[in-house]
């Protein structure tokens, strides 16, 4: 393959990493808007979705172009496949983060107090997972990716606790049903973000080893 292709591939990889950083930032701001009860910040976060969508399409177009023109193999093929899949997961993460920001606007008016501690913890854990996944992706770090993949259960446990708390609040207190549904939606979206971040770690494993570990224990 030509040096020209290697440079194009490197440019695309950097572009994908910039998109990852952008999505990470959107999640962080969405969580901040949620936890600090800042509707103005939530609105600003929502406006950033369009940029992610546009970038997702541009990255995908470039992957297809390079596949068509250069027919890469080996590590180059694996990198392009990984970029394409990570690209999709990043866009989905941004969508979920936007959903969190949407719900954050409502929860400012109707806080669901008993879930606050768990939601805060869930936000922290999910932000950490995404940060570590993006770092593993940037550094093509197999060990980190494998560790992320094996540490996903903490999110599931937190999510289960939040669902349980919301259910018990609904049974015992006069809370707003809308607020409880918002809290549930936030928790669900954060849990989905963790799943997508774990997918990114699995793509890093594929990139490094050629093994598809998805759907395996």
């Amino acid at each position: 393959m030509t040096l020209h292709f290697v440079n194009l591939l490197d440019d695309l990889r950097r572009r994908s990493l910039r998109m990852a950083a952008l999505v990470e930032d959107i999640l962080n701001e969405a969580c901040e808007a949620l936890l600090s009860g800042d509707p103005a910040l939530a609105r600003r976060v929502i406006l950033r979705d369009e940029g992610v969508d546009a970038e997702e399409v541009e990255v995908e177009k470039e992957v297809i172009r390079l596949l068509a023109l250069y027919q890469p193999v080996g590590i180059d093929l694996r990198l392009l496949c990984a970029i394409l899949k990570v690209n999709n997961d990043l866009e989905r993460i941004a969508d979920c983060a936007i959903n969190v920001a949407e719900r954050a606007k409502h929860l400012v008016e109707h806080p669901v107090h008993r879930t606050n501690t768990e939601l805060r913890e869930l936000c922290n854990v999910v932000q950490q997972i995404l940060r570590r996944s993006v770092q593993a992706y940037g550094g093509e770090d197999l060990e980190s990716a494998q560790a992320i993949r094996s540490g996903d259960t903490i999110v599931d446990d937190l999510y289960a606790r939040i669902v349980q708390n919301i259910a018990s609040e609904g049974a015992t207190g006069p809370k707003s049903t809308a607020a409880m549904l918002d809290a549930l939606s936030v928790a669900k979206n954060l849990e989905r973000i963790a799943d997508h971040a774990t997918n990114i770690a699995e793509d890093v494993i594929f990139l490094a080893t050629g093994q598809i570990v998805r759907h395996q224990q």
Binding site: V73, G74, I75, L77, R78, G210
Partner: protein
């Protein structure tokens, strides 16, 4: 010309019995080793072109040999039917076993060997004779006693050339296009009912359409034959072969199922070569 009713794929089985006894009578099951290369070293004078290579070629598969110029892939290919015997100062150590028989043993007749292991070269090299005689020649001098017209037609059909030449069989083969000439050479090789077909960059002199036809043909030929292919075109190796062997400076660096070698090669040198980082 007699029109045969038999399906194209029956050529190897049907006509083989009339031609000659096979070196080993019982056919081996698919996936079994048909050519075993053991610790093969080939020297031209002081220069070692192939160094201690061991490689199994499986029946009814296409095996591609890839590597940069001078890596020894064509030398290795030619060793399989002893074409290197014609090269002065060429010394072969190690063994090549074809269907259980060591081909460099003193008792092995290289002419007989080449009837079982056909070869197609980089540049199409039809005889300056008619299309018909190009195909029938080898069978005739080897005492074929069956229906020659039928054999010629079957070989041309098998090589995907029949429809294009059926009305001009008596015309000189040199008038055909490059791609047609190469398919004629394949038909000529098939007329001897080989077990293995060696192809040394068979598409390097052809345009993309002719190349695609040869590649399709290789895929079809695997039903009845075993193909070993040398190619500089890595995408071609990826498209047509089941297994790929990468050679570098005479050494076999890696042999692997093609889809694995082109997605996740084990050796860094293979990785560097297939991704164009060197070579």
């Amino acid at each position: 010309m007699v029109i045969m009713d038999q399906p194209q794929g029956s050529l190897a089985g049907a006509a083989k019995a009339e031609m000659r006894p096979s070196p080993v009578s019982a056919p081996e099951p698919a996936g079994e080793t048909i050519v075993r290369i053991e610790n093969l070293t080939i020297r031209y004078g002081d220069f070692s072109a192939v160094k201690n290579v061991s490689l199994d070629v499986y029946r009814n598969q296409a095996t591609a040999l890839i590597g940069p110029s001078g890596c020894g892939k064509s030398t290795l290919l030619r060793a399989i039917n002893r074409m290197n015997d014609f090269v002065p100062n060429c010394q072969v150590d190690g063994r090549i076993v074809v269907r259980g028989r060591s081909i460099y043993d003193p008792g092995c007749d290289p002419v007989d060997l080449r009837r079982h292991i056909g070869m197609v070269f980089q540049k199409p090299n039809p005889f300056p004779k008619s299309i018909y005689r190009n195909v029938s020649w080898g069978a005739k001098i080897n005492g074929y006693r069956g229906d020659m017209d039928a054999l010629v037609e079957q070989c041309l059909r098998r090589a995907g050339l029949w429809e294009e030449v059926k009305d001009k069989l008596k015309q000189v083969a040199l008038n055909l296009s490059g791609g047609q000439q190469q398919r004629l050479c394949i038909a000529r090789a098939l007329a001897l009912q080989p077990d293995v077909l060696l192809m040394d960059e068979p598409c390097s002199a052809l345009d993309p359409i002719a190349t695609a036809r040869i590649e399709d043909l290789i895929d079809q030929l695997k039903t009845d034959y075993t193909v070993v292919l040398v190619t500089h075109n890595m995408q071609q190796a990826a498209r047509v072969s089941d297994r790929t062997a990468f050679l570098y400076m005479g050494e076999l660096i890696e042999v692997e199922d093609t889809h694995v070698l082109f997605t996740h090669p084990r050796h860094p040198r293979t990785q560097a070569y297939i991704t164009g980082r060197f070579g």
